[in-house]
């Protein structure tokens, strides 16, 4: 009985404790709810996150924005930065034994719209024949560089040049140094003299470099090489910006000289707010400056990347649209969709601009300082380039014509031809700048052939290599090309041809030519912060992640379309 009483007492205590616990919980909950509600109603406190000066949340005034670093993929994804390769003569013998070619990677787009190409670039040391070609190509610049200005003639010893051709001279100089054809004193002497000349160039109406300069006097001239002015070319400037960035990133000690050139230029009219590139010309009747959109699919995107390397935002210029495709030998060849009859600008499809993207950028975005050679972060550019290559190989296979098409000079009238894969609605259309069809001037372009040989390691490019690698004059450099219809060599020598050939040979040794910037702040971004010059001339701030050009993809061609 006593035991039963004790048991009842224990049960009651237990219940009391439980009830008490529940009551306490209810009371605390109710209190918390009441207090929280009261606070939310009567005491509205802000969540204050302190902003640290210069930190991520600090909306910096223009005065201070120059100091922030340009954001690249290595910062955002915390990946190691690609390291600049050594000069060829400083490479260990087994250097190429450890190159990652990504041969096991599947072809196609990645989730980030990067692209793994079907083909791989050709990599390795230069053999004897290639070194001879490199030396001969460099001979052009030794022969035709003007001592007075440091500018190289664009064509033979005709003393005039453009920004495009001057960029080719810079490309040749960098390549010659990296391939150990010249040493650093010669590199510095040439580049410093050239950069100094570029800094003092008389600009077109105070804006940007004129289209043409006299190489002996560095005076701005017209197409007749007489004192005068024509306008400026957005595409030429884009290529120049690419090579000035390459020089600055590879040789930071030249950075101030490079920046000083650009800080004289006025970019207000060359890139529109929506990101299109413009050129300038003079209206002959009113003498006013006229700005025309410049660039078509291929060249336009290449030039856009040049501007983007310096912080500009050529969003529309970098997009492929509007584009169409033409089925040629089973390949959907992309071409610019803007109607020449309306826009009065031809939509030439040639190899050159794709080559330059491949050789200089590795088909990467400008903010990409991490991806390996086999991965192209500017995916659609790489995919389009593969089509440009494929259609030329297919033509060779199906017709027997060796094909490596590009724009090139010719001896005598018409002096220059667009030797295209497609233009004006016709495949394999060889036309002059004024539109005449001149099939007799169709040629295997030397620069296109060796450029393709460098970027596409295939049996077909071996054939091109054999056709071109000994196509030189020991006194003047590499010939412009080999006529398709059997008229022999295109007997003319140009800076662009020899510069691109040297770049192609450098690409075999070092891969993508553009290397990451290794410094921190740049004068280009910090200068004139205390004045309104940056605003007036549209100098950009260091690009952040939100400023990156978008990586896009377009539908791919799964199989050949016959």
């Amino acid at each position: 009985m006593q035991q039963k009483t004790k048991q009842n007492k224990r049960t009651s205590v237990g219940r009391g404790v439980a009830i008490l616990f529940v009551a306490l919980v209810l009371m605390i909950s109710t209190t918390w709810i009441v207090v929280a509600s009261a606070r939310s109603i009567f005491l509205q406190f802000e969540d204050i996150n302190p902003i640290i000066a210069g930190g991520d949340l600090d909306d910096l005034p223009a005065l201070l924005r120059g100091n922030i670093p340009a954001v690249t993929t290595s910062m955002v994804r915390e990946l190691p930065v690609v390291v600049k390769p050594p000069r060829m003569c400083e490479m260990p013998d087994d250097y190429f034994d450890h190159i990652d070619k990504g041969l096991e990677q599947p072809t196609g787009y990645t989730d980030r719209n990067e692209y793994v190409r079907k083909y791989r670039a050709r990599r390795g040391f230069l053999n004897e024949r290639e070194m001879r070609a490199a030396r001969v190509a460099w001979l052009y610049f030794e022969t035709f560089t003007q001592e007075t200005t440091g500018l190289a003639n664009a064509v033979g010893n005709y003393p005039s040049t453009t920004m495009w051709d001057t960029a080719s001279y810079i490309a040749a100089t960098v390549s010659a140094y990296e391939l150990c054809i010249i040493e650093k004193p010669e590199l510095d002497r040439r580049l410093l003299q050239l950069l100094t000349t570029l800094k003092v160039l008389d600009l077109f109406r105070g804006e940007l470099p004129n289209k043409v300069y006299h190489t002996k006097t560095s005076a701005k001239v017209d197409y007749g090489n007489k004192p005068g002015e024509i306008g400026f070319s957005g595409l030429d400037l884009g290529r120049m910006l690419v090579w000035l960035r390459i020089v600055k990133n590879r040789y930071p000690y030249l950075g101030n000289s490079v920046d000083a050139i650009l800080l004289k230029w006025d970019f207000r009219n060359v890139i529109s707010d929506d990101g299109l590139i413009f050129g300038a010309r003079i209206n002959n009747e009113t003498n006013e400056t006229v700005y025309d959109q410049e660039g078509r699919l291929g060249y336009e995107e290449y030039a856009a990347k040049g501007f983007a390397l310096w912080g500009f935002k050529p969003i529309l210029a970098h997009r492929a649209e509007p584009f169409l495709t033409a089925s040629i030998f089973g390949v959907q060849v992309p071409y610019d969709g803007r109607d020449p009859r309306i826009f009065h600008s031809q939509n030439y499809v040639v190899t050159e601009s794709y080559l330059q993207d491949g050789l200089e950028f590795g088909f990467d975005m400008v903010h990409d300082d991490t991806s390996p050679d086999w991965l192209s972060s500017d995916g659609w550019r790489a995919e389009f380039a593969d089509r440009i290559y494929q259609v030329q190989e297919n033509r060779w296979r199906q017709t027997g014509f060796m094909t490596a098409r590009s724009e090139h000079n010719v001896k005598g009238a018409p002096y220059f031809t667009y030797d295209t894969i497609f233009s004006d609605g016709y495949p394999w259309n060889t036309v002059t700048p004024r539109g005449d069809y001149v099939p007799n001037h169709a040629a295997v372009s030397a620069k296109a052939a060796l450029g393709m040989w460098a970027i596409w390691d295939t049996k077909y490019t071996n054939v091109l290599y054999e056709a071109i690698i000994e196509l030189y004059s020991p006194e003047n450099g590499m010939f412009e090309g080999l006529y398709e219809r059997g008229q022999g060599r295109v007997a003319i020598f140009t800076a662009n041809n020899n510069g691109i050939i040297l770049t192609a040979l450098l690409h075999k040794v070092q891969g993508k030519v553009l290397t990451p910037y290794t410094g921190e702040t740049e004068v280009w971004y910090t200068a004139f912060r205390d004045q309104n010059i940056r605003e007036l001339r549209h100098y950009p701030d260091p690009p952040q992640q939100e400023d990156w050009l978008p990586a896009l993809r377009h539908s791919t061609q799964a199989e050949e379309d016959f």
């Binding site: 005039s160 002096y415 539109g435």
Partner: protein, 440 residues
């Protein structure tokens, strides 16, 4: 010494190499231009700008369509003419020596150029003695005389300008064939260059810019008010030549009719018979030449006389002549119209010609352009008849008596016509010719 010699040799070699390279790029300064691309070559032509990627070149050119061919030319004279707008096939290319108006046109084996006297000269590569030349228009085939390779007279030039193809045969085997499309445009272009872009050299029927029919606004936009040819000393006698003798005076249509002579053989045959009858009619020739002395050369060319000749006898013919004799004003009007529309003379030349009939009759007119053409046509016809060069059917129908008549009437007429350098035989031949050419 050897070192100096070697250095000199090296320097020479380097200089030579440099010189070669220098030649690659021509001078594109305005001083080197021989043409102003703002001045249209024909109605509808327009100046356009070139998309130059390199450091030199001509920033402008002109393009258009004339006489059935598309063309483009640069300020240095370099031009292409083709029947297709791409200028891709059947191209006539014109190339000029730097800074000069010395230009040549090329198509296949054919080269055309102007000689010092302003006459067109055709050069055919690979043509040797004994080769036969023909002009073929698809159906008919006309043999060309050897003098086609000498400076061309206006008739031959008109013949080549009429189109068709130039065929070269060796031992009956065709060795070359050159389409003549663009010949007229190129020859006119060559003269236009030499004349400093003077419109007065344009042949009859040319779509001259700024003429009354030029309503093309685009052409007006390309007008240059202050253009002067840069090569002033190079404007030769050719610039003045058209005032005396319009080049290509016979239009392309008329030239085509020349080719059709052989096709009109039936008419010639009928005419020959009619003339045979008429030559027997006393006084007929005299009546004709009395009439022709009033009307002078234009009346000689009048096709109405032979075509209206009835076949029934001399009396009716004389009656007919009386009906033809209109009032002087009407005659003058008809003649003027004929000279301008059919012959191609400008109004001033035609009027001057009509206002001096007596002088023309009494003085040798060897310098008259119309007479020259008449003489040339006669000579040509005679040669062809005599040498059996006309197509077979034609020679068969020509009555030998026309060529060498024996009766006294003809002799009298010949004497009467001596002053005008046109014999009765010539007159008859000419009448037959125009009868055959100008089909009513």
């Amino acid at each position: 010494m050897n070192k100096i010699a070697i250095t000199s040799v090296i320097w020479l070699v380097v200089s030579a190499v440099g010189g070669v390279a220098q030649d690659e790029a021509s001078d594109f300064s305005p001083d080197s231009a021989i043409l102003d691309t703002t001045i249209p070559f024909a109605i509808g032509a327009r100046e356009a700008t070139q998309e130059l990627r390199g450091s030199y070149g001509w920033p402008t050119f002109q393009e258009g369509l004339v006489e059935g061919v598309y063309f483009r030319f640069d300020p240095d004279g370099y031009a292409r003419f083709s029947t297709t707008p791409r200028l891709d096939t059947d191209v006539f290319e014109v190339i000029c020596r730097a800074k000069t108006v010395s230009c040549i046109g090329r198509k296949g084996i054919m080269t055309v150029q102007l000689n010092g006297q302003g006459a067109l000269q055709v050069i055919l590569d690979g043509v040797s003695t004994g080769d036969e030349l023909f002009i073929v228009d698809g159906i008919t085939e006309l043999p060309l005389p050897d003098r086609i390779l000498q400076p061309l007279d206006s008739r031959l030039e008109a013949l080549l300008s009429s189109g068709g193809e130039l065929v070269i045969r060796h031992a009956s085997a065709e060795v070359a064939r050159v389409p003549l499309s663009g010949f007229l445009a190129v020859s006119t272009y060559l003269r236009w260059i030499v004349s400093g872009q003077d419109y007065s050299i344009f042949p009859r029927g040319w779509p001259v810019p700024n003429s009354q029919s030029d309503s093309n606004a685009g052409a007006l936009l390309t007008q240059s008010l202050n253009w002067e040819p840069p090569i002033r000393g190079a404007i030769p006698v050719l610039a003045e030549l058209p005032a005396e003798e319009p080049v290509n005076m016979v239009s392309q249509t008329e030239a085509q009719l020349l080719i059709d002579v052989s096709q009109n053989q039936e008419r010639i045959h009928q005419l020959t018979e009619a003339l045979n009858q008429l030559t027997k009619a006393s006084g007929f020739e005299q009546a004709i030449f009395e009439q022709s002395s009033l009307l002078d050369v234009p009346s000689i060319m009048q096709p109405v006389v032979p075509t209206a000749i009835p076949e029934t006898g001399g009396e009716m013919a004389l009656e007919h002549i009386e009906t033809v004799a209109k009032t002087e004003l009407e005659v003058l009007s008809t003649q003027l119209n004929y000279l301008m529309t059919e012959i191609g003379l400008d109004s001033a030349s035609a009027l001057a010609l009509l206002q001096q009939p007596n002088e023309l009759l009494t003085t040798p007119r060897t310098n008259s352009p119309s007479d020259q053409i008449v003489s040339e046509i006669l000579l040509e016809l005679k040669e062809k008849i005599a040498e059996n060069e006309l197509p077979l059917e034609t020679t068969e129908t020509v009555n030998p008596e026309i060529i060498a008549p024996s009766d006294g009437v003809i002799d009298t007429a010949t004497v009467r016509a001596a002053d005008s350098n046109v014999s009765a035989q010539d007159y008859l031949l000419l009448s037959q010719y125009f009868k055959s050419v100008f089909v009513e």
